[in-house]
Each structure stands twice: as structure tokens, then as C-alpha cells.
Symmetry: C2
Amino acid sequence: MENTHLQDYSHKRLNILTGEWVLVSPHRAKRPWQGQNEEISKEKRPVYDPSCYLCATNTRANGEQNPDYQDVFVFDNDFAALQSDSPTFEVNDGLFKAQSETGICKVICFSPDHSKSLAEMSVAEIKKVVHAWQKEYVELGAHEMINYVQIFENKGAVMGCSNPHPHGQIWSQSTLPNEVEKKDIQQRIYFASHQKSLLETYLKQELEAKERIIFENDEFVVLIPFWAVWPFEAMIAPKKAQKNITQLSDSGATNFAEAIAVITSTYDKLFNTSFPYSSGIHQAPTNGEENEHWHWHMSFYPPLLRSATVKKFMVGYEMFGSPQRDITAEIAAKRLRDLI
Amino acid sequence: MENTHLQDYSHKRLNILTGEWVLVSPHRAKRPWQGQNEEISKEKRPVYDPSCYLCATNTRANGEQNPDYQDVFVFDNDFAALQSDSPTFEVNDGLFKAQSETGICKVICFSPDHSKSLAEMSVAEIKKVVHAWQKEYVELGAHEMINYVQIFENKGAVMGCSNPHPHGQIWSQSTLPNEVEKKDIQQRIYFASHQKSLLETYLKQELEAKERIIFENDEFVVLIPFWAVWPFEAMIAPKKAQKNITQLSDSGATNFAEAIAVITSTYDKLFNTSFPYSSGIHQAPTNGEENEHWHWHMSFYPPLLRSATVKKFMVGYEMFGSPQRDITAEIAAKRLRDLI
Ligand SMILES: O=P(O)(O)O[C@H]1O[C@H](CO)[C@@H](O)[C@H](O)[C@H]1O
Ligand SMILES: O=P(O)(O)O[C@H]1O[C@H](CO)[C@@H](O)[C@H](O)[C@H]1O
């Protein structure tokens, strides 16, 4: 079986959700590293930090005071990249093409406890975050102007996070961003010719193959996708197709929260550090269409490669050619699975 | 004219070469920064470093000794991501899709002087680098197995560069990487319907608009593209269409070298630091086709945003949605132009 070549020789793998390729160079994992090392913050953070603008009862940059919140707290981003009240316009001037983009940006504090991250929160606590995400998806998506809701988290200074208080963001907007557009197209094509979800079919195949599975429970699977780009990239997805996170049953929300708890706490064990990543949920647009081809999923893109201080750089070749990885998805999955 | 809205309100701009969008949030440039700061190395490097594996006469990791080279030195990458002797195979197993990828990876030292970067080299010295790139493009491209040659440089530790000796890389391979494929498609479509180069038409429009031009000489223009992603992203391109860098005349090579000298030295002045970036040349595939739709160009993707230590993070929203920038292309171009 030629699958064995995948552990020995350079090859590219197709991301069936985006239609794009990743270059894999398994023989290269032994390269010595003489480049930049990341700093790790080993300080134990306090439960409450008087200078943190996300802690309960503190005052934010714009003078507003946070309530004395007990679990999850959502507010409008004080430095929103998208605005809801800007004019609608289009530039169509020869080869200069631009379009106005309106939207609403929010910040979501996962916990009042400044010292925690999702990795250290209980399933019950994470479930409250899931409920807040559901509420925001519904409320933001209900706006005439909003056709897509992007939920994400930047965790760790190396991922551009400027405040260690556990929090994520939601940027919602009028058009579909590039990555969502790609996944919309690939899922639509598959659904049109197979009348079933691309991702559901894929997950079934992964559950049989087993080698990239990290964890599963009744309703969810956590795995390293066949086409993973980041060294320890992972995906959480419901085994049965659901368009968006509002379709979760109560037990579904618990199962999803458990999957988040498992992957984030396993990450922390890998290099014995608070594991940095960006995570995001891709789900059906809120554009009023049926979108039955959509199967929502949550992805984690963590930059660390070999240790708490050595990350993978997506630079020259990756920027001009295509993403590239050394360690294979199968080996990464085994390393994480063995830590659970 | 609605173009003025581009300096005030959120919008997205189309990259006509890739068909993808960038989100621009001009009002957000004033956001305070409390996140990670980069380290700057202020040490003055010696002209020769006995421990550098790229300096002339030194021994590399694999035991080979570098020659006593006088200008440019090219050798096979000791940790090549692509190999020329690996087997050809395909995995087409349900939704698992992979293909072998073969190639040749080289390293190119720009100068024996360990202390320099392109920004500090003379036009005559840079012209020798251009000649080496031309030679490699021809020689690598002539291999039956090689259909695309990617020339690039990672400069600075923050861009994953593990050795400060001035050098770049060349990864050549059998298929077109993602980014090249996108540009191939957009240029082909335009050429088919207009019988002229997309980029040539675009450059004419930019030279009339003037506001994004940084520098021009007889044959080249240096500008911030309308759709730039990175804060100070720049492009160098020949005004008249050329498929690849071998079509440069002797004066063309001088003009190109001058354009490189100008942009790299201007970058260094911006934040008074050795400016990090990844640069790369996109040019026609070496796949034996006519490729008359191709117009080669060199791009610079520098991460710094506000100072020598504060960079732009392409994380959460950017990874899951689309690239996002705050400072507009027009303002970035003016800042660089004013420094020349
Ligand atoms: O080849 P180098 O310099 O060791 O490595 C650097 O450039 C490569 C090509 O862009 C990247 O894959 C690596 O992540 C980066 O550290
Ligand atoms: O919104 P924040 O946390 O200030 O900023 C962070 O996340 C944003 C969304 O991914 C990015 O655009 C910024 O570059 C990053 O620093």
C-alpha cells in the first residue's frame, strides 16, 4: 500500500475543505534548530489582576466598567476592526477593486478567573462558553447586515494575544471571508453530487483508519486532519452533520465542551507549557440560505513545533508557495493521543 | 469620489493576481499595543564569523567545506524539504488524497561578507545575485522533473531565519504550489480576454494614480500594491511584461538590482533597524508551456507594524477569515517614499 510512503517521502496532501495543498517533508523532522526561540511566561497569574481590562469590575480603555460577572461576559470590542455604521460603497476603478465591509466585533471573556485558560476549566464551565457562542451566533446572525459570524480565540503572546485573561473574539460581517468562501464552495460541490456532508463522510473514513484520531465521545471526534498544516493542528467536529452550533442538543453541548477540554489540556501536557494557538469555528453563513451543505467544525492552529520555545515559521516558501510541514499528521496524532 | 472612503471606513480590496480579498480597517490604526514585543539584535556582526556555516572556507553540518567564494555562492540545501530521488506515488483513498512531490532545494549566499544584508550591498553586488537567480532558474527549470522554481529569502530571526549571514533559498519542484497556481489562473484569464498582461495594465494605472508608488526607474516600478496584506508589503515589477527573470537585458538587470537596493535600504530606515521580511519572486512555470500570460514580479512581506519591536500578527481572524490590515497601502507608501 502506497500510504506507507507518506511517512518517508515528500508529498503534498489535499485539504478537501479548501481545495488547497500542503507540502509534507517527513524526512526533514531531524533538522537542527539554530533560529529564534520564543519566550515562555512561567509566572503564575493571580485569580484577579487589578490592571487587567477584562477582569470583573475593572474599567476598560474607553472608560466603561465591567460588571461583576460570574461565568461568561460578552461586550463590544473597543477597537473593532469592523463597524456597523459605516457607509456602503464600492470602488470599481479599472483594476482597483474594493467594497465596503460592515460588521460587529465582540470580545468574550470565558471566565472571571484571570489565572485560567480553557485547558484548566471544567466541562461545565466550558459548556457555558458554548452557550454564549450559540447565543451570539443567533443574535448577530439575525442582523440584516450580518451574513457570517466568525468565532475565534488567540491564545498566548506568540499568537498576538495582548491580554492573558481567558477570552476569545467574535467578528461578524456582511460578506464571507476568503477561508469560509473556499469551504463553502468545496462542501457545496460535494453535497450537490452526493447529497450528504463532505465532512461526515470524511470523519467516517477517519474513524475507520484510526491513525489520526486523538479522542472521541458519543457525538464528537477530535483528530489531526489528513491535510493539517500546523505541526499539532487539530479539528473537533460532530460525527453527524450539523450546519451550525445552534443545532447542538444539550448532551451535544456537553460532548463538545468535553472535546474542547480534552484537546486543550492535552496540548498543555505536550510541552509542559500553556500551549498557544489560534482556534476558530467555521459554520454555515447567516445569509438566510438553506446551507444544508455545511458541517460546522472547530479547528486549532498551534504554532509550537518541538518544545515550548521552538515554533514552526510559516515564512518564505510557505508565503510564496504553499504551507509546509515536517512531522506528519499521523505522528502528531499519536503523540497527543498517548498523553490523554 | 468614493476612493476617499478607503482612508476612513472598513472595506475589503481585491488582489487581482490571486483573486482573494484583504480586509482593511483604517480607523483601527490607533489601537494601543500591550502584546508581545520582538527582540532586536543590535550587535554589529563581524565580516567573518568562524562559527557560521555559510561563511567562506567554513565547514557545514554535513562535513562539506565552503569554497573561498568572492561574491555569490550556491549549494544544495543540506536539509532539503524536497528530494529529487524519491519515488513517484499517489494516494487516492476515498477522501484521503496525496501526491508525491519531488524537487531540488538550494541555498544562495548573497555575499561572503557576514555583516551585510542586501540593504547594505551595492547595486553591482546585487546584480551578481540577480545573475545567479537567472542561472538557477534556467538550470533547475531545465530538469524534466522541475516545473516551477521558487526563489525566496527569509530575513531576520522573526522570519524564521536561523543564520544572519546574507542568504536566500530556491525550492524547485514538480507541481505548482498554491500561490503560484492562483496567480497562474488570474493572469491566464485576463490575458485570454485582453491579449495583454494583467500586471502591465495594473502598473500603468498605478503610475498614473501615483499614490502607491515608492520608486521607479527606466524599467522598474516599486510600489505598495492596492491589495497589500502586510503593513509595508511592497512589489517590484518590470513595467513591460516579461515572463521570467531571464528576459532581463543587461540594463534591465541593473535597474532591477537598483530597485532591490532602494526598497531594502528604505525599509532599514523606516524603524532604524535591519528590517525583517520574506521576499519571493513569482514567475512563469518551467513546464514547457508558452506561459505568455505571466508577468514576473518580486514581493516583500515584512511583518513589522509600528516599530522595530511591534509586528502585525496574522492570527485568529486572519487564519480563519481573511488577512486584515489597519494602516492603508496609501499611507504606507507615503511613509516609505518620504524616506528615500
Ligand atoms: O530552511 P530554513 O531557513 O532552515 O527554514 C526556514 O525557511 C523555511 C522555508 O520558508 C521554513 O519552512 C522554515 O519554517 C523556516 O524556519
Ligand atoms: O484583537 P486583538 O486581540 O487586539 O488583536 C489580535 O487579534 C486580531 C484578530 O485575529 C489580529 O488582527 C491582531 O493582529 C492580533 O494582535
